[in-house]
């Protein structure tokens, strides 16, 4: 499987009047052909900022970016951070396309659906209007919109939320990208429609062997569609691994806390939820050590001084499964295994 995206030690910070907001703090991950890699985290954890960086969508001057983002483009790799605006524009939509969360605001209300789709094609194939219009209809058909030729002449307000998200997917596929970034693609949708869209994405991925970077806060969606998972907290990846590693053998207290606090439709009914106490830190004044330390209930198993002063490195125990935590491995295993029994 060839790699499509390599993010290495990405830092993104935004200077504000109140201080520097460290939105992304040393993120590294890769996405290969045919696989779905999820970034999961709560609001403000830096997942969307990461995805916008890949698309080169941060305005120069408003964000301080360092590290490298290599995107497979035209047979080679393009470093989005150092590339010129022109190079990025030729990559955007053609090598990597993006689906946004809110299909209501991502479509222009005054233009016909077909024309908006065609525009995405014309950017990379100037002048080929007929081809673009035909491709628009073809893509609408592909994403399951009935009577595509007719629907292409309609406006966004004539489409339901789920249909609009299908249009967004069709638009992303106009230039047959090798990779798709889906930023909360189903968050604005109802569960029954969400199930339709997730099924559609999975079948398109299979058909075109695309790599998908899925940004979401929903652990259920992650469990359903992804192979690899990155858990983010306060701008950092705190745990990285295969989907089974993360859900059945978490190594980081925050991941474990998330798994324990998410309500499940369960056999036992309504037992009390195990909430994580406290709230995420401000990105302006992050704790010097582990950002999760003030909320961590396992801090008793670690050298609390280390937790407060040193950021733990992302280290692994097994192949491809890494986490940031100071807790002594032997103590962790026993207590986490006990806690995982309560989950489910």
């Amino acid at each position: 499987m060839s790699e499509l995206l390599r993010i290495n030690d990405l830092h993104v910070a935004f200077p504000t009047d109140d201080g520097l907001v460290r939105a992304v703090d040393g993120v590294s991950l890769t996405v290969s052909q045919g696989e779905t890699v999820a970034i999961v985290g709560e609001s403000g954890s830096g997942k969307t900022v990461t995805s916008l960086s890949v698309m080169g969508l941060h305005k120069k001057g408003t964000a301080e970016i360092s590290g490298s983002i290599s995107v497979a483009h035209d047979g080679g790799f393009l470093d989005v951070i150092t590339a010129s605006e022109e190079e990025i524009r030729s990559m955007r939509g053609r090598s990597v396309a993006m689906i946004f969360q809110d299909p209501m605001s991502a479509l222009h209300p005054y233009y016909k659906i077909g024309d908006q789709l065609a525009e995405a094609y014309l950017v990379h194939n100037p002048g080929k209007k007929k081809e673009a219009a035909a491709r628009a209809v073809e893509m609408l058909d592909l994403v399951g919109i009935s009577e595509p030729a007719q629907r292409a002449k309609e406006f966004p307000h004539q489409f339901s939320g789920g249909m609009r998200q299908r249009v967004m997917i069709a638009m992303a596929l106009m230039n047959s990208p090798k990779m798709l970034i889906a930023d909360e693609p189903t968050t604005a949708l109802d569960v029954t429609v969400q199930a339709q869209i997730l099924t559609l994405l999975a079948s398109l991925q299979k058909e075109f062997n695309m790599g998908i970077l899925l940004i979401t806060h929903d652990l259920g969606v992650v469990a359903q569609v992804s192979e690899k998972v990155n858990v983010m907290y306060a701008g950092r990846i705190v745990e990285q691994g295969g989907v089974d590693d993360i859900f059945y053998n978490p190594m980081q207290p925050y991941t474990l806390g998330l798994l324990k606090s998410v309500p499940r439709i369960s056999a036992t009914g309504s037992e009390r939820l195990k909430a994580i106490p406290g709230q995420p830190p401000s990105l302006i004044s992050l704790p010097a050590g582990c950002a999760f330390a003030p909320r961590c209930e396992y801090i008793k198993f670690a050298d609390s001084n280390a937790c407060a002063t040193q950021m733990p490195a992302l280290v692994g125990t097994s192949a491809g499964h890494t986490s940031r935590c100071h807790i002594d491995e032997s103590k962790r295993q026993a207590s986490f295994a006990e806690a995982m029994k309560e989950v489910r």
Partner: protein, 323 residues
């Protein structure tokens, strides 16, 4: 359940008129179209459904924040359906609401102290020990620092703002609360905190609650009984355990199977019922059973005859061909 009935809703409808329909007839949006249920003291009824199914309108109509079109609402033995504004105001101390969006539910120009003390002021209640004291003990109860009495809403996070909204709702010790999607704007770790808080308050004060949500896993955790709504009608209603484990309505089954669970192994092998299409328009709902356009079991009878809610096993179901 032998407990006393706090609230009894019978055949409640709420239709909103729509201006200028295509055929120039008076069109209405049938947001709530004939729902009935009883709520017992200390009980939580979960109201679930997709957006546009009428769950929020149902909640607001029960509180008479919008006037019902027809049907009756009996609260603690009084028929409040025809109560006018003045009479309702004095009742409001007993029935409160918690809103979905903690950002727009709080006046940004008022301090937290002012916001939480509003119920006392409106109802002319003078709590023992003074208003400030009462507000601060409320703040403590919902897990806020009482010293933050003079702060403004923007200084709080989403979860904390929701706590402020809850403190305001419980200030006058109401008997009944409508919680309209109180946790859907919150992150998972915070969501669990707020659900637990609501659970505690309800248990301690014996409050009856209608808990409106689209998230079935959240509803299961907090409700004693659950009603599933679709296009303004109740499709199935019953005790939580029965509804989640032996539901009879195809829509309930589809809804339950669509919720992704944080369990990759079972997720990847699970059979899922994928409903086709979207929710039909509530202006022109399908004839017969409103679910028939998306139901895989629909037959001719479903297109002509409206199914009534009937007891089947552990739940009441409105379906001609229940599972």
């Amino acid at each position: 359940m032998s407990k006393e009935i706090i609230l009894s809703v019978t055949d409640l409808t709420k239709h909103f008129p729509v201006k200028k329909s295509k055929d120039r007839k008076k069109a209405v949006v049938k947001a709530v179209d004939g729902i009935s249920f009883d709520l017992h003291a200390g009980e939580t009824l979960g109201l679930v459904g997709e957006s546009g199914c009428g769950k929020t309108t149902a909640g607001r109509t029960i509180l008479k924040l919008t006037e019902p079109t027809s049907g009756s609402i009996v609260f603690e033995g009084q028929d409040i359906t025809k109560f006018k504004h003045g009479k309702m105001t004095s009742l409001r101390a007993q029935m409160q609401i918690i809103f979905q969006d903690p950002y727009s539910a709080l006046n940004p120009r008022q301090t937290i102290g002012k916001i939480i003390s509003a119920p006392f002021e409106i109802q002319g209640v003078n709590p023992t020990g003074g208003v400030k004291n009462a507000v601060q003990s409320l703040m403590e109860r919902v897990g806020l620092n009482p010293e933050h009495y003079n702060r403004y809403p923007h200084e709080f996070s989403g979860g904390q703002r929701q706590r402020i909204g809850i403190a305001r709702a419980i200030a006058l010790k109401p008997r009944f609360i409508v919680a309209d999607e109180p946790v859907s704007a919150l992150d998972v770790s915070i969501q669990a905190q707020v659900i637990n808080l609501l659970d505690d308050l309800q248990r301690e004060d014996g409050i009856s609650m209608v808990f409106i949500a689209h998230d079935l896993s959240v509803v299961q955790h907090i409700s004693d009984r659950v009603a599933v709504m679709y296009l303004g009608k109740v499709m199935e209603i019953g005790p939580t355990a029965n509804l989640y484990h032996s539901s009879h309505h195809p829509y309930t089954k589809a809804l339950l199977s669509a919720v992704p669970q944080p369990d990759p192994r079972s997720e990847k092998s699970r059979e899922r019922i994928i409903l086709s299409g979207d929710l039909p328009s509530p202006i022109n709902p399908p004839s017969g059973c409103v679910f028939n356009t998306r139901c895989w079991k629909a037959q001719d009878k479903c297109r002509t005859e409206v199914p009534q809610l009937v007891q089947l096993g552990g739940t009441q179901v409105a379906c001609h061909f229940p599972e």
